[in-house]
Amino acid sequence: MIEIELQPWQQMTAHAEATYPNECCGAMLGSTDENGKTVTVALALDNASTGSQRARYELRPEDLLKADREARSRKLELIGIYHSHPDCDAYFSETDLKNSCPWYSFVVLSVQRGRFDHANCWLPDAEQTHAEKEELSWPKS
């Protein structure tokens, strides 16, 4: 179970809409306890893909390193990664799976015609062969 607070949620959906028709990406910081994960801070990161960013994203490891340092300095945890799917469902694609890391929760935001539509969260396995859906909750306006 992963819950995203209002402020990071608004930043994530605004980032996804502003980046449309390209894919956006970023990191989610927060905390974990017995009830699950709570995202309290969203960090927008650069899409470093050199191909068409309409359907590709790539995070620079340097940026993830910075995100991890930011989390440590704020006594938070780096708990997940988000990215958007412009005009596409919030599923975990074959390419997403093949380039994933099993340590993090992956939130996918579907943006349809420039507006946020729906989201899902995924937990990929270490072999990059399967992603389990993780229950995701966000503030409904």
């Binding site: 894919e23 993830l64 599923y91 380039n99 994933s100």
Partner: protein
């Protein structure tokens, strides 16, 4: 001893610590020493064949060891190693 920063989701495999210290004069030796004490951590970072998993990058301070001397990169007592994943994705051409 060199310091190894442990990403949050892996701390459960490292006695809940956010960093470990381990002896060694190269990146390979330091990681081997650290993961010898924490076999479950080793499984997260290395494949069964003993290679770093495809999505795992190791940084010596601010530099990717791939662009230094890989696992033979020299490590000093005041150096910090970070474990950083590669993450990317996309969906083009998968759906009509």
């Amino acid at each position: 001893m060199a310091k190894i920063l442990i990403p949050t989701p892996l701390r459960q495999y490292a006695d809940k610590k956010d960093s470990l210290e381990a002896p060694g004069s190269t990146v390979g030796e330091v990681l081997a020493a650290a993961t010898a004490q924490h076999p479950d951590l080793r499984k997260q970072i290395y494949t069964e064949e003993g290679k770093l998993r495809s999505f795992v990058n190791v940084y010596l301070n601010d530099e990717d060891i791939r662009y230094l001397d890989k696992d033979k990169t020299a490590v000093g007592a005041n150096d910090t190693l970070s474990i950083v994943p590669s993450i990317a994705g996309g969906w083009a051409g998968e759906r009509a």
